[in-house]
């Protein structure tokens, strides 16, 4: 088994996929290393890649005029990093900064979209998984809109 295949198989995000689908994904994936402090992408950039964090922490930041950026979420081992590559206009809506040294699996967005469109079963499986991530982040956002920790505001 190739190293990339083993990494993909170990990721909870891809668990339950058929072997032939894992092989398709492994053939497209590339491992990258990002040094702490580096921006993986910036708000407004074309979303050319899909990333899954293998190790390390990444901050999703909202740049603010004349002020330090605010971190709105951090993602960690096993998390997918954004889905802007999935939907037009394919532009990132946050900055992603490596808070620690990071290793990630990277997929070329165009190739992944082509695979998803040509193999509907794999496309469905991928969309289901991204849907789940989106729902859980939407839920987390709603929780933050509530007075989750009783600050009284």
């Amino acid at each position: 088994m190739s190293n990339t295949m083993a990494q993909i198989k170990d990721l909870k995000f891809f668990s339950g996929l058929k072997r032939r689908h894992l092989e398709v994904l492994a053939a497209l994936a590339k491992e990258i290393e990002v040094e702490k402090g580096t921006y993986i992408f910036r708000e407004g950039d074309d979303a050319l890649r899909c990333l899954v964090v293998l190790s390390g922490d990444v901050a999703l930041e909202l740049p603010m005029q004349g002020r330090d950026p605010r971190t709105v979420q951090t993602v960690h081992d096993g998390d997918v990093l954004g889905w802007s590559w999935l939907y037009p206009p394919h532009r990132w809506t946050f900055d992603a900064r490596a808070v620690t040294d990071v290793t990630a699996l990277v997929f070329d967005a165009e190739q992944l979209r082509a695979v998803k469109d040509s193999d509907h079963e794999l496309g469905f499986q991928l969309m289901t998984r991204f849907g789940k991530v989106m729902v859980s982040r939407l839920q987390a956002t709603r929780m933050r809109l509530m007075d989750l920790y009783g600050n009284g505001d």
């Binding site: 950026p69 096993g78 920790y149 009783g150």
Partner: protein, 280 residues
């Protein structure tokens, strides 16, 4: 000193004078008071007292200190209204009246031999802090010990120094997350439930102690269920207005339960339905 169940009603209705010995500021509106009781004080983690500020009034407050220490009690108070604001304005040397301890605490002995999850949101960490002391005092009786804390911003974290200290130990795993932060914060950002799927406990062997606002406890219980933690191993605390503390006045009634006597700690599966009923 006897426990609440051994004390007579008149004793439980009569405040014991306690001298404030230290006042530690936690956040802009929250302090931890260390008081010296008139006589050795015994309580179980999770129990509460009625704290009386002379001339102002009395409110229920959880005990947040080491249950194996009997010469001092700590209580962490957030100033929200007349009485709590008067209490947080206390200075060393002031005298407060304390009744109790009341209620049943966290069943820590039931976690022995397994892992322990301590999950707090905001000032909800206060009654959980006594569990941490108790578990650390008897560390060899437990497996993995994991503390998960959520706060609005880094400035809203209570017991920040102690969390750092516990986090530097090798036998306890401490994770603090905030809703939003600037670059000065190096920890995770996100809601407390995000940390549950990657927490290093064995879901089949963990007992979870959860405290925070009701909405936080509800979402946490849901995330624990999704993480395969059995709901009969999840405990929460319930706050209801209290007056007598001894089951006489009915102020603390929650559904069919009297929080002052049967609570404030409840096993989640026994009260889950009440969490779903609006306005109980």
């Amino acid at each position: 000193m006897a426990t609440a169940t051994e004390l007579s009603i008149p004793q439980l209705l009569d405040p014991m004078p306690c001298v404030v010995r230290a006042v530690n500021r936690e956040t802009h509106d929250t302090i931890t008071l260390e008081v010296e009781p008139a006589e050795p004080y015994h309580f179980e983690p999770g129990q509460i007292t009625m704290v009386y500020k002379h001339g102002v009034g009395e409110i229920p407050i959880s005990i947040s200190s080491d249950p194996d220490r009997h010469d001092r009690i700590s209580q962490t108070v957030r100033g929200v209204g007349a009485v709590s604001k008067a209490i947080i304005a206390s200075h060393p040397g002031d005298v407060l009246g304390i009744r109790g301890p009341f209620g049943v605490g966290w069943p820590i002995d039931q976690a022995e031999g397994g892992d322990v999850a301590i999950i707090g949101g905001g000032i909800g960490l206060a009654p959980l802090r006594s569990i941490v002391y108790r578990v650390l005092n008897r560390r060899d009786r437990f497996g993995a010990v994991v503390i998960l804390v959520g706060a609005r911003t880094p400035k809203d974290i209570v017991f920040a120094e102690e969390l750092r200290e516990w986090g530097s130990r090798f036998d306890i795993d401490v994770n603090v997350t905030v809703d939003t932060a600037d670059r000065g914060w190096h920890g995770p950002v996100g809601v407390v439930t995000n940390m549950i799927p990657r927490a290093p406990w064995d879901s089949s062997k963990v007992t979870a102690f959860v405290c925070g606002p009701e909405v936080m406890m509800r979402f946490t219980a849901r995330a624990l269920r999704e993480d395969d933690v059995p709901m009969d191993k999840v405990y929460v605390t319930m706050e209801r207005n209290m007056q007598c503390g001894v089951g006489l006045c009915g102020h603390c009634q929650w559904g069919s339960h009297f929080v002052c006597r049967e609570g404030p700690v409840f096993r989640y599966d026994t009260v889950a339905e009440l969490f779903r009923i609006r306005g109980v």
